[in-house]
Amino acid sequence: MFKVSYYPGCSLEATARDYAESIAGVAGLMDVKFNELKDWNCCGATAAHSLDHRVTLNLAARNLALAQGQAQPLVVPCALCFNRLASARHELLEDSSLIIDEIARLGTDYQSVQVLELNEFFTTPQMIALAESRLEQDLTGLKPVCYYGCQGQRPPAVTGKKDYENPQGLDRLLSGLGAEVLDWPFKTDCCGASHAVARPELVFTLVARLYQWALERGANCLVTGCQMCQANLDMYQEQISRQMGREVYLPVFYFTELMGLALGHQQTNKWLGRHLVSPRLLLENSGLPRGVWERL
């Protein structure tokens, strides 16, 4: 049993409920116990670091303090939360003078907290071997490109990633589970993230570029480990497809959903049922068992 701490972040309570549920499901299949931080707070996201450096550091510092003395590492599924926590930790190790007393009181041993992105946690050689040993349903027929996004990768001095220009973890994991993973040059390009609200046309341009390349490579789906990427790729597909003047059908999976599918989790269809781009047609055409797609 692997016991670690867990920081879900605000999105996993709402738009990324499918992600949250699939993580809980996969944890059970992989003998992992995720201990959610008690009374965690928002990381402040883009808003806080754009408007108030002091606030963004303090928001992260409180979460890091809550993780002190808990099981390590602190695993974070949201790429942006991960980046905020890791960046703040990086800075706080040098200088924590901006932290207010009410938060410093909770503990300032930031060194003791190890912040890890969920997809890194599940793609160590040990975890991949474990997943492969429990494989129940080959992901035959799925030809994904893996989309890692930016916040989990960069800057490497903060994220600790070694293959940040061409990450391989998800590629290895999903290949091991029988998917025909395709290589592509847009693994870590930006989807525009929260600009989807205030400047949606920017996100549409960036996402159209991703669709185009995915299709060009012959992919029939996208796989991600970031809920902002998933939302931007999944929610506006109809609209962007229309703008591109090209029919785009690319279901967007969380890697944990495909782990659930491959390891035979009974709730997989419930998670997949929350997507706006229904993966039903793809799964049916891929020859995957009826039970997985028939109720989507």
Binding site: C10, A14, G44, V55, L59, E102, C150, C190, A193, R199
Partner: protein, 201 residues
Amino acid sequence: MPGEANHSSSPRAGDAIRPSGSWLARVDAASGAGAASCFGCKKCSNGCPLTFAMDLHPYQVVRYLQLGQIEKLEKCRTIWLCASCQTCLTRCPNEVDLPRLMDWLTETVFKRGEEAAEERVLLFHRLFLNDVAKRGRVFEGSLMAGYLLKTGGAFGVEALANARLGLRMLKKGRMKLLPAGTKDKAWLKALFKEAKEKGDV
């Protein structure tokens, strides 16, 4: 403008830049961005995914700072359009922290209460931070509703398109109906007290 007459033959005399070294050291010290070490290779701008929408390319932001043209930077769209994807910093041979510089500039404009070149981006950030200040966590539903009300009204084209999308998300179980927050709020009050007094958030 002083010295303007001397340049009257130049077609863009009024736009001539008069370099000033006073800002570079100040901003580098305050932000830690390290803009002084930029030698202009433009790797930042070649890798930037959003240059197509920017009025200044990332290397120009650094260059204008080196030349002391701070006003130009505070008024540009680029600082609000940067998505903090960190490509520029990652690839910079001199480790100039451009995303941090962009943040420093947006924070400066915001705290002075000046108008942002990308008003909607600032509005969304402000509402988001307001939400965090209230509960300690963000409630996506009311955040979106608040944003749409302030931008186009409840029956604007954008609001209606988003309402349709919102309904689909609701049907898929991807909308939360009740907000959550941290139980402990003392730290939150203390943290945002100063900001609120200044009328920031």
